[in-house]
């Protein structure tokens, strides 16, 4: 979701020239071209090269084609299948929905699309309530992750250079354990006789154990914990490359550190904030495991609603419609936001 310029890696100086080298025409004329010439002696390669040239694909085009093919195969194709199912109707069969296209006897194809599933989503308040509740939980979690992640990223970026790698590892390290196990561990911490309640009672802060597990609070804790690295890493990458001389200049001109932070550091880090928020917000909206394990039966999230449509009702068409609408709910605001950003960047630059 983040634009390439939002997430630079640490090795900027060495990477700059390298990129130029790779995309430069003369690069292909060097080693690669030699290999290409030699491979041309082999007939199948020659045939393939000729074929690709005919449809207008050169080596340069192929490099660009790879990510597009990836998106086509693993995003667009599955999405189209889901879209197709969302227009079908339920039947008791394997698979449990009607085909969209049917070959009729005289060589015609009949298309039978039903909008009923989408209309049903409007009919029952459960669905829009689930969407809204998911958005609410994701928004609050993202805000909490930002509040927590920004100071962490800031401290990491301003730490002495020799510590940074270790600090970075500490953020990444939890990923080496299964996500499921880490969420399960929170059950042990948050439950009534759990570590947190025991510790608080031991310290005399509370006398009765708090009910945290199976509430929305546990879901917030779970999401913030699980997605915090996605907030910290882009922020860190952004803050680390910030030009500190700007802060020195501000200090020289009599600006207090706190004010300098708000007028210089924060605006400079906006791309990092946006990237981090998207990386947390988008998966959090569709989150299913965390509300299921940590949330209560009253925690309404669209991921759980979709699960029960799919598994309990066996209504694949309706659950596909839920998924398509979820995608639209997420994609439209993001595209609009991106547009707005570009426009303001153009206006500003």
């Amino acid at each position: 979701m983040s634009k390439p310029e939002d997430s630079p890696s640490q090795g900027t100086p060495s990477q700059g020239p390298k990129v130029a080298y790779m995309s430069g025409r003369d690069a292909t004329a060097g080693g690669l071209a030699g290999v290409h010439q030699r491979l041309l002696l082999i007939p199948p390669y020659r045939l393939l090269a000729a074929l690709l040239r005919r449809i207008g694909l050169t080596g340069h085009g192929l490099v660009i084609a790879v990510p597009y093919l990836w998106l086509l195969a693993f995003f667009l194709a599955p999405f189209l299948i889901v879209l197709k199912i969302s227009f079908a109707e339920v039947i008791i069969a394997q698979p449990p929905y009607t085909p969209l296209f049917e070959f009729v006897e005289d060589g015609f194809i009949s298309i039978k699309a039903s909008l009923e599933n989408y209309l049903f989503l409007l009919e029952d308040s459960l669905y829009w309530k689930s969407y809204l509740s998911s958005l609410r939980i994701a928004l609050i979690s993202t805000a909490l992750a930002l509040l927590l992640g920004y100071p962490i990223a800031y401290a990491m970026a301003r730490a002495p250079k020799r510590w940074r790698f270790a600090l970075l590892m500490m953020v990444i390290l939890p990923f080496w354990t299964s996500f499921l196990i880490r969420v399960y561990a929170w059950i042990g911490i948050l439950k009534k006789e759990g570590l947190l309640n025991l510790a608080l009672i031991e310290l005399g802060l509370i006398s009765e154990p708090l009910t945290i597990l199976n509430t929305d609070i546990a879901v917030f804790i779970g999401i913030v914990y699980s997605y915090l690295p996605f907030m910290v890493l882009p922020l860190y990458a952004n803050l680390e490359k910030m030009d500190l001389s700007l802060l020195e200049a501000a200090a020289d001109l009599g600006c207090r550190p706190a004010k300098a932070f708000w007028v210089i550091t924060v605006p400079q880090s906006i791309p990092g904030i946006i990237a981090g928020c998207f990386l947390v917000f988008i998966p959090a909206v569709g989150e299913f495991v965390i509300p299921d394990l940590l949330g209560g039966s009253e925690t309404l999230m669209i991921g759980k609603t979709l699960w029960s449509e799919f598994f309990n009702n066996r209504d694949w068409p309706l659950s596909s419609a839920v998924a398509v609408v979820l995608l639209l709910v997420l994609v439209i605001p993001i595209v609009l936001f991106q547009r707005m950003q570009e426009r303001s960047a153009q206006a500003g630059g």
């Binding site: 449990p96 308040s125 459960l126 309404l300 309990n312």
Partner: protein, 366 residues
């Protein structure tokens, strides 16, 4: 239904699916997908030793998960064990192959009392063989319940469905199954309606019963109570007979002075059947028949029942059952008690929607 088990089994399947293609050619294998905590594992070892067929054994704790895999097709399983109502719908969807009776010489071991009833789901028992059967009642912690209500109606569904009674136990923890197709019939049966009703207007009457007790229920879950009851984390659980009895045993083993009882309420309870069947697209139908036939051996079936405390549909196995299984009226009720049990039929898709919607409302309050 535990969704995690879905994830776990999805990973397991992914891991298992990969090597199967290559291994198939060299050695014989059968892929079995059964309920969790539902077999004595030594049975699988014995089977492997005797037949040379490797068993790949995988588990689930919800019919819904099984059904979704079957309806997707190419599940890779050779033997699956759905409950009767689900089996009926899956047969209709064309998921299964007819059993080849010539390969099942142990069929005469089966018990007419059970096969007569399972024919309701699978006419002529053409597609399936009974594995085990049981009832859906409730289990309770004797001391915790009597301490809160000395005259608790422990033989009646009032324990669960009467808000005045169940509210007294809210502080010590009440679990109920997360299974709409069991809770709604139970609620209807409690108010004197037909538990097997397919009429949405009748089914909606269950909503009032369930909404009234919902504030006193700690959790809707289909397997956690097996541990939560013997640990003393909860004091009352609406659950499956064998699971509550396993909980009773775990409490006895832990020796923690917790006494668990299982009750088939006097108003009647659901009698359900889990049936072994072979999917149409099973990669190893030959080995699947050998496995099903092996399970129908009297000693083998008795061994499984002795461990999991569920009754089975195998008449010949009864002489090998332990006294605490065959002699326990909670497992093998008297013929008169069996008469008070009811069975259910699968819901049509439109009715199913009403049922699931009602269930979501009960669970989420929405």
């Amino acid at each position: 239904m535990n969704r995690l088990s879905l994830l776990a089994s999805a990973f397991a399947v992914a891991a298992l699916a990969l090597p199967s293609g290559a291994a198939q050619a060299q050695s014989k294998v059968v892929h079995v997908y059964n309920w969790s905590d539902y077999i004595d594992e030594t049975i699988l070892e014995d089977f492997e030793k005797e037949t040379g067929i490797k068993v790949v054994y995988d588990v689930y704790d919800s019919n819904d998960v099984l059904e979704t895999k079957l309806l997707t097709g190419n599940s890779g399983y050779d033997v699956v064990v759905p409950s009767g109502t689900f089996l009926a719908r899956q047969i209709q969807a064309g998921v299964y192959q007819k059993l080849d009776r010539s390969k099942l010489p142990n069929l005469p071991n089966m018990w007419g009392v059970v096969t007569d009833r399972t024919a309701k789901y699978d006419p002529g028992n053409a597609y399936s063989v009974n594995y085990m059967w049981g009832t859906t009642g409730f289990g309770y912690n004797e001391d915790m319940i009597l301490e809160r209500m000395p005259d608790a109606p422990v033989d009646s569904w009032r324990m669960i469905f009467d808000p005045d009674v169940v509210s007294k136990f809210a502080d010590c923890g009440v679990h109920v199954l997360d299974a709409s197709d069991e809770l709604i019939p139970a609620a209807l049966n409690y108010i004197g309606e037909d538990p097997d009703s397919q009429d949405p207007d009748v089914i909606r009457k269950a909503e009032d019963v369930l909404m009234a007790i919902r504030p006193h229920i700690l959790k809707f879950h289909s397997s956690e109570y097996v541990n939560a009851l013997p640990n003393g984390d909860i004091c009352l659980a609406l659950g499956w007979s064998g699971d509550v009895l396993q909980a009773r045993d775990r409490a006895a083993e832990a020796d923690n002075n917790i006494k668990i009882n299982y009750v088939v309420p006097k108003e009647g309870a659901l009698m359900w059947f889990d049936q072994m069947a072979i999917p149409k697209d099973a990669p190893h139908p030959e080995e699947a028949h050998i496995f099903v036939n092996y399970i129908m051996r009297p000693e083998v079936m008795a061994k499984a029942s002795n461990v999991v405390y569920y009754a089975n549909g195998n008449k010949a196995s009864q002489e090998f059952l332990n006294e605490d299984v065959i002699g326990d009226l909670a497992i093998y009720p008297t013929p008169e008690a069996v008469a008070s049990l009811y069975t259910t039929t699968p819901y049509a898709p439109r009715v199913q929607r009403v049922v699931t919607r009602l269930w979501t409302k009960v669970k989420s309050g929405q």
